[in-house]
Amino acid sequence: MKKSRRDFLKVAGLSAFALGSAAALNLGSAKAATAEGTYETAPAQLKAKRWAMVIDTRRFTNAADFQKVIDACHHEHNVPDIPGNQNVKWLWKDTFAHTFPDDPHGYMPDRIIHGNFLLLCNHCDNPPCVRVCPTGATFRQEDGIVVMDPHRCIGCRFCMAGCPYGSRSFNFRDPLPFIKDVNTAYPPRTRGVVEKCTFCTERLAKGQLPACVEASDGAILFGDLSDPASTVRKALAENFTIRRKPTLGTGPGVYYII
């Protein structure tokens, strides 16, 4: 039998296609053998294009005002209280000069220059921690929240060097002995990972506002920055607000009413 080059190529092409598509079919059936369910966003999930927070600093006047919201956060998320310089912070307070270091001149009202300010992760538009993380353990969600995946954290602490707000803490030791009352609904972390505020993603999924917002009696507002009718946008339209270290270009998502 004589075969032309043309016929040979036809058969070869068809065979190659058959082999290739058979492999694809096999792949499909292999996947079907380990069939499992599908994944959805939680039904009560609160959604936003860009979550943001507005802190009314006029309503944080004494230590109890701060402690109330800090305790709410730290208890909810099993944040340990370690004495010394190895402490872990999600939500904490500091002076004006440390919070807004650009121009803390001495002629400001006493309330400002001697006052304290609530600090937390700013959930930046352009987060340096995400850019430097070598494993992708920290990343920015579509709704603007910068979250940590402790499963992937290798503890290199690049993010701590990258963050200009000191919002990240490293677990130098096992945090469990330093957690007074463990909240079993939320996993604590382990030695060797970095952690920080998550804007309570796990609460948003259940339709609840962040723990600090709930505990603050309206002194902290939380909402969608892209929605002109949201509480945060109203507060921003009615009050003068500043953000921390805006010149760095990180685009913080936490605003302070002064």
């Binding site: 499992e36 994944y39 966003t41 995946d149 382990t190």
Partner: protein
Amino acid sequence: MLYNAKYIIPGLVVAVAAFTAPFWLNIGTPSYTYPDVAVPTGEDSKQCVEPKEWMRTQHMTLLNTWRDEAVRFDKRTYVATDGKKWDISLQNTCLGCHANKVDFCDKCHNSNNVQPYCWNCHVAPKGNE
């Protein structure tokens, strides 16, 4: 003609015996049996998220996917193959029923010599203390 046969042949015999020792030593020992794990008995815990046999072989893959979907993609609801919906949470959903870690998780993991590091962070249920 094999040079130094008086060293080489005993050496080979010893080597073959050493390599096959696990087979000889295990002749007559009872074969592996699936450990008797404590299965939850409560009213709401008759059925796991997926069938028992599938969970036995695939729970680690499922837990990995649960972790990634919840933490990385914010998808916190699992729709099982039977259509039932579950909250994705090792701590609250899995351990809610399987409250006896020592007699459930550990029994199998120990007999198979697996050391999962879930419990480095996740709080082991108190039901076993």
